[in-house]
């Protein structure tokens, strides 16, 4: 065993930190810090992707031949850690981390040529069409159908929880191409232009006052057959590949670290009886407890990244990250609310330009409040807490 980071990582971290400091526009950083919400503002996200692309850093995790950097998993970890720490927005995850890897692994040459450069440069937003109203946890039973008619698939159905679909130009969809076989085998992976006739997008008003999630209705949408990725009927395999590809993402370790830091800042600045909350035993204890949990989570992530040979099933180990990370996102947010006290219950306006700037309110209040509300979803999306526990029971212990 060796518990030390490689020597070059310290330098690497410093190099990334300097670069981000130089490149990240102040207005984007402040927008993320003060109003971040649960999802990067999609326009900032694309702008930032373009800036990263100039250094060749928008998809560093991809193979070099497709535009990635030859960075180790640890370097990629440090890179993302530094970006999040600096309040950089995410890239469009659907493009850079979800359908991008599926396209370069399973897609045709034409698809690679057409879509990979656009993802690398943040040319447009990607919508993810997986969940359906009747099939959230039970994804394999999805019902949106794609029927082959000559050179096109005719797609009918409805998707839900699609982030930023209203501004997405393309989407990657799981559709049922064969209703006669076992559910998992009749699913295909289809790229659909979101401006196609027959697509309607409805934004869903959320608990935090935003409306970033959408419903997507597909009514006789004609999709050229060349937009099918890989083989017909292999969509379920590709979706699993895509989710396995991101084994550590669900820990939200970067956000957990950053949110803990925000909690520590609020605690240092909010006063009670003339003393900062960070000096009051009850809050000290909670901060310490969360720091312990975040630290343990980070080392759990490092174990996966360093390719430890697990005694238990690997997918079960990934579910550990999801269970611990999603719950931790909520507990840290809950602490934000408790630290802010009554100031945690203000509803801020949806439009950024209407947002007030009162010296009576800590300037991270809005971010903390809105994030705490939408964090209730972190134990729901990407497989609910209960589904994750079922996975652990089954895969780790064969129960």
């Amino acid at each position: 065993m060796d518990f030390q980071f490689d020597d070059n990582l310290v330098e690497f971290r410093q190099m990334v930190r300097e670069a981000v400091k130089q490149d990240l526009p102040a207005d984007i950083r402040e927008g993320q810090r003060r109003f971040g919400g649960n999802q990067s503002d999609p326009h900032d996200s694309l702008t930032w992707t373009k800036i990263l692309a100039k250094r060749g850093w928008s998809v560093p995790h991809w193979p070099v031949e497709y535009g990635g950097q030859n960075w180790s998993p640890m370097q990629l970890f440090v890179f993302q850690d530094e970006l999040t720490r600096a309040f950089a927005p995410d890239t469009c995850w659907g493009g850079t981390h979800m359908c991008g890897p599926v396209i370069y692994t399973f897609g045709s040459e034409a698809q690679k040529e057409r879509f990979l450069p656009a993802i690398i440069n943040g040319d447009f937003y990607w919508a993810q069409g997986f969940s359906e109203p009747g099939n959230g946890s039970d994804l394999a039973n999805l019902r949106t159908s794609a029927t082959r008619k000559g050179d096109v698939y005719v797609v009918n159905g409805q998707k839900i929880w699609t982030s930023c679909a209203w501004m997405a130009e393309w989407g990657f969809f799981l559709v049922r191409t064969d209703p006669t076989v076992k559910p998992q085998r009749g699913i295909s992976f289809l790229l659909i232009n979101m401006k196609s006739p027959g697509i309607t997008v409805r934004r869903i008003p959320q608990i935090n006052g935003e409306a970033e999630l959408c419903e997507v209705f597909l009514d006789n949408v004609e999709v050229p057959v060349e937009n099918m990725v890989g083989e017909e009927g292999a969509g379920w395999t590709y979706a699993k590949f895509l989710l396995d590809h991101e084994r550590t993402t669900s820990s939200f370790i970067y956000f957990n670290k950053r949110d803990l830091r925000i909690a520590q800042d609020i605690a240092a600045n909010q006063m009670l009886d003339g003393v900062p909350l960070s000096k009051h035993p009850r809050f000290q204890g909670r901060l310490a407890q969360l720091e312990a949990e975040v630290t343990a989570l980070e080392w759990s992530v490092l174990r996966v990244l360093a390719n430890e040979q697990f005694q238990y099933n690997e997918t079960a180990a990934a579910s550990v990250l999801k269970v611990a990370g999603s719950r931790l996102q909520q507990t840290i947010s809950e602490l934000h609310l408790d630290l802010l006290g009554a100031q945690s219950i203000r509803q801020f306006p949806f439009e950024v330009h209407d947002r007030p700037n009162s010296p009576l309110w800590p300037d991270v209040t809005e971010n903390a409040n809105q994030r705490a509300l939408i964090q209730r979803a972190s134990t729901i999306y990407g497989g609910t807490m209960q589904v994750q526990k079922n996975i652990i029971a089954k895969l780790a212990f064969d129960l």
């Binding site: 869903i204 608990i207 909010q270 006063m271 408790d338 006290g341 219950i345 729901i380």
Partner: protein, 369 residues
Amino acid sequence: MDFNYSDLQRMLLDSAERFITEHFTLEHRRSLRDSANGLDEVAWATFAELGWLALAIPEDLGGLGGTQADIAVLAAATGGKCVSQPVISTAVLGTHILSGATAPRTELLEQIVGGAARIALVHGEPGERYAGAAPRAVTLTADGDGFAISGQKLLALDAPSATHLIVSAMLEGEGFALVLVEADSAGMSVENYPLLDGSRAADIRFETLRVHGDAVLATGKKAEALLMEALDRATLARLAQSVGSMEEILRICSAYLKERQQFGQPIGKFQALQHIMADMFVVTHQARSALYQALAHAELSAAERSRALSLAAITIGEAGQLVSRQGIQLHGGYGVTDEYEISHHYRYLLTLEKISGDLDYHMSRVGQA
């Protein structure tokens, strides 16, 4: 002991539930967000007609002389539909201070009963986190034949729709003072904003607002005691609202578990979810018990009353967190949309918890008492 409703309470509850269920639909509540000050004028007129605004006022001052238990019955019913109208600010907190003032304000109480006046307490100040104890920054100073108020107040609940404000201030030589101010007075700058439950609040800066001597409702120890009593009454009513909200969440969630299908069966068939539902049931039951415990001590000495209240606030606050959080979890993605009731209950319970003094505040109050 008898934990069943009296005939009067049963009548109150029936009429309240009938009106509230019919009037405060989800769509209606969402539409109130667009109103200037959050006030539902039609509902307010009905509150007056049904006698709710007179309930807490002593009979000799023209009210119905209801007990705190009566108020709790009504408040729990409003909690069931996340009603965030300024009823408690006016009809519990405001009426208690106006009735107990050195010279009771019968005229204003009459206007409240009729639905024409609404009261907001302007008490919290920056950086004090619920403590509200002297010495504080907002001052009342002698100015000719009256007084001048100056200083900054934070988070005055329901101030945007109030006709009158009760302002706490430090008066030299007297300590605490409570002052009645008309809401449209000159000499204040006001920033109004909504809270998560749709209610409204304001940060108010008094820039030497002048009032007559008779605007002072009470001073010194009397003012302090009156204020603490009124705040405890308001908190008790809000705890009842929380219990009402939780009990409604049980109903909503159990129905959803029977209706929502995944993996070819209602999700209520999954033991993981059954156990969550059972946990929610346990703490909600405990929450109502805690409420009754607080009601049992509500008319005792200040120390006994406050301690019992804080114990209830801890139990109900924690129960509210568990019930509202798991309520969302049981709904999956739909739980975090604005289009399902459950997210409204979540925000309602969070607002109630944080308005009434959070868990940290109530735990330290119990620890010190």
